[in-house]
């Protein structure tokens, strides 16, 4: 009853007319973010990817400046200084990296015994070469091979897949049959044949990796092109009279860039691994050139007596592989949320 009484007291003056401003309802409050800004926000939240990026930058930095840090050259042989264990100034007092090694089962300071005054931070190999310098030189070579191979893979793969997908029809048929033939041949056979005709070295390995490496990228790009070329925004562009080149550069490539980057991020560690594998089985780089693969191969031979020869390159290659994969993973989540499992 009270409610009714109160309602009766309301007069028209108690009401105020509220109008909706159509202009207002169309407003968007959220700040405008481009695709890349949005992706960066996503990537920033991924701690593993950020840590990996920092670690990767450190490794790249070391690969660039590491060989010049301790004054030893990577290819100077000094048999008097052969097989020295790691010795680092400052840390030696703690008992680690103090130059102690085992000789006939007993622990002795090999540096003192051989009367070596210099420090070899990561020790030396059987020819007396400084392993620290060689490690970073090897890392540099491995990274170089990986980046170049990934870049070539990307260029060939994007071009091949793009042409095949965009023009379609008979062009696509022929190009895809060629790919199928290429993929039918075991990669290792192609690589061994390539290395037999070419001089072993960085170029030969890059050619060997790229000769079949672009196929994965081309297939992804072809699938993406097929997907996007029939999208309505591409049709709209065509009804406006846009030329093929414009459609490819303004509509197709920007939309595929995320996936291309992700795929490249996964190609790089594969290339590092493949190069290491080739060097390890002995058809990769030839001495005295160093790469992570050849260093691991050297270390593996003396694993029991001088484990440090194997240890450091193994750590570096593992860190590289993990870092690249985590960055790739983070990028995939940030750039292409739909691809998440």
């Amino acid at each position: 009853m009270r409610n009714e009484n109160e309602q009766e007291k309301l007069t028209p003056e108690d009401f105020e007319r509220v109008t909706i401003d159509a202009h207002h309802s169309e407003r968007i409050e959220k700040p405008s973010l481009s695709f890349w800004q949005d992706a960066w926000l996503g990537l920033r939240k991924n701690k593993a990817a950020i840590v990996s990026m920092v670690v990767l930058l450190l490794v790249i930095l070391m690969a660039l400046i590491g060989p010049h840090l301790n004054g030893h050259a990577g290819d100077t042989q000094n048999l008097r200084h052969a097989n020295l264990p790691p010795k680092i100034p400052g840390i030696e007092a703690t008992g680690f990296f103090d130059g102690d090694g085992k000789l006939a089962g007993k622990k002795v300071d090999l540096y003192e015994m051989k009367k070596v005054d210099e420090y070899y931070w990561f020790g030396t190999d059987g020819l007396g070469r400084d392993l620290f310098t060689r490690l970073w030189e090897g890392t540099r070579v491995s990274l170089f091979i990986a980046f170049v191979a990934a870049a070539i893979d990307m260029v060939i793969g994007v071009a091949y897949g793009g042409i095949s997908g965009y023009f379609g029809g008979r062009t696509d048929d022929i190009m895809q049959r060629i790919v199928e033939i290429l993929i039918g041949i075991p990669t290792l056979i192609v690589v061994i044949l390539m290395i037999m005709i070419m001089d072993p070295g960085i170029t030969a390995i890059i050619v060997a990796i790229t000769i079949t490496g672009w196929i994965g990228m081309s297939r992804i790009v072809r699938a993406q092109t097929l997907k996007y070329k029939s999208q309505e925004f591409v049709l709209a562009s065509r009804t406006l009279g846009a030329k093929d080149g414009k459609i490819i550069t303004k509509h197709l490539l920007p939309n595929m860039l995320g996936i291309i980057i992700i795929n490249t991020m996964f190609t790089i560690p594969n290339a590092i691994f493949f190069e290491a594998f080739l060097s390890f089985i002995g058809i990769g780089l030839q001495p005295p050139a160093a790469s992570l693969g050849t260093l691991i191969n050297d270390g593996y031979k003396v694993m029991e007596n001088q484990p440090y020869v194997l240890l450091f390159p193994a750590i570096v290659i593992s860190v590289l592989m993990i870092a690249f994969n985590l960055i790739g993973d983070g990028l995939r989540d940030a750039l292409d949320p739909k691809m998440k499992d």
Partner: protein, 310 residues
């Protein structure tokens, strides 16, 4: 008013022609659209409505037949300049507002794409001003120019699509199911916008849809398609008042009304193409049964329909 802007003559569009997988998406259809009118095209999914629109604007090359725009055959080989001019006159609005805008481009660049291709503006300030004008024409704000498509709702996106089509000052717009992906409340918004624009700029529309009540609302004349063929064509009111082809009757019997008494008594007429029982020697043609009212029928049916009219 009686001048035909667009004339479609015996248009055919076969996919995989000559193979076992041949699809006759459009099978010999003819119609004309007068300047300033809205021609509605209805039919069930997959009957060739969208293909008709896309073939008319040359997204597909026609298998046979002609599309005459102002007397010029659209599909005939032309010089670059003529092609360019034609691209400006004919534009299209797409069905899916989520797929029709490039997610990597700002609204400014999306709308200005046509301006850039045809070199309609000089300098950045003029370009931006033109885009803002267009945005305001379709009821959006100038601030929207700097945003990306994913920040907009479906209705807003569709209006951006309309602004993009309007940018090149077209005379003829093919609206390929522009409202079927939208919420009902937004549908009216977009349809009313299209109507206003038509009055303002004297546009001619080909309105493709499957929502019959909406088509009736916007169209002056309606064509009904079934399996790649135009089965009936008449002025909108005439078609709804007096459907002659069995398929049209079936379609109209399927329209629900928010009226429970009517709904309870509504009888749906299923359509079976075999009911016609055309003989092998009968010529099934598009015939004018009443003035301006065309039906796909045989000689015998034609006589029956004429008799029923009188």
């Amino acid at each position: 008013m009686s001048e035909n802007l667009i004339e479609v003559r015996n248009l055919k569009q076969y996919f995989n022609a000559g193979k076992s997988t041949e699809v006759r998406a459009i099978d010999d259809i003819s119609f004309a659209i007068k300047r300033g009118e809205t021609f509605g095209l209805v039919g069930e999914s997959g009957c060739g409505k969208s293909t008709t629109g896309r073939t008319m604007i040359r997204l597909y090359d026609a298998t046979a037949g002609q599309v005459l725009y102002n007397g010029v055959d659209v599909h005939a080989p032309k010089s670059k300049k003529e092609n360019h001019a034609l691209n400006r006159k004919m534009q299209m609005i797409f069905q899916d507002p989520y797929a029709s805008l490039n997610p990597r481009m700002k609204v400014l660049d999306i709308i200005a794409e046509g301006l850039d291709i045809h070199g309609l503006v000089k300098g950045k300030t003029e370009r931006k001003q033109r885009v803002i004008d267009l945005l305001e024409t379709v009821g959006l704000n100038r601030e929207h120019a700097e945003r990306y498509p994913h920040e907009f709702s479906g209705g807003q996106r569709q209006r951006i699509g309309i602004a993009r089509a309007l940018a090149v000052d077209p005379e003829f717009i093919i609206a390929d199911e522009p409202i079927s992906a939208l919420d009902v409340s937004i549908q009216a918004q977009v349809v009313n916008l299209l109507k206003e624009l038509q009055e303002e700029k004297g546009l001619t529309y080909l309105f493709i849809a499957h929502d019959l009540s909406m088509v009736k609302y916007i169209s002056d004349r309606i064509g009904v398609m079934y399996f790649g063929k135009l089965v009936e064509m008449a002025p909108a009111d005439e078609l709804y008042r007096n459907p002659m082809h069995a398929y049209t009757k079936s379609l109209l019997s399927a329209i629900p009304l928010p009226d429970p008494i009517y709904e309870r008594s509504r009888v749906r007429h299923p359509y079976n193409p075999k009911d016609h029982q055309y003989g092998s020697d009968e010529k099934v043609e598009f015939r004018e049964v009443a003035p301006e009212h065309f039906v796909l029928c045989s000689e015998k049916e034609f006589a029956e329909m004429q008799a029923a009219r009188v």
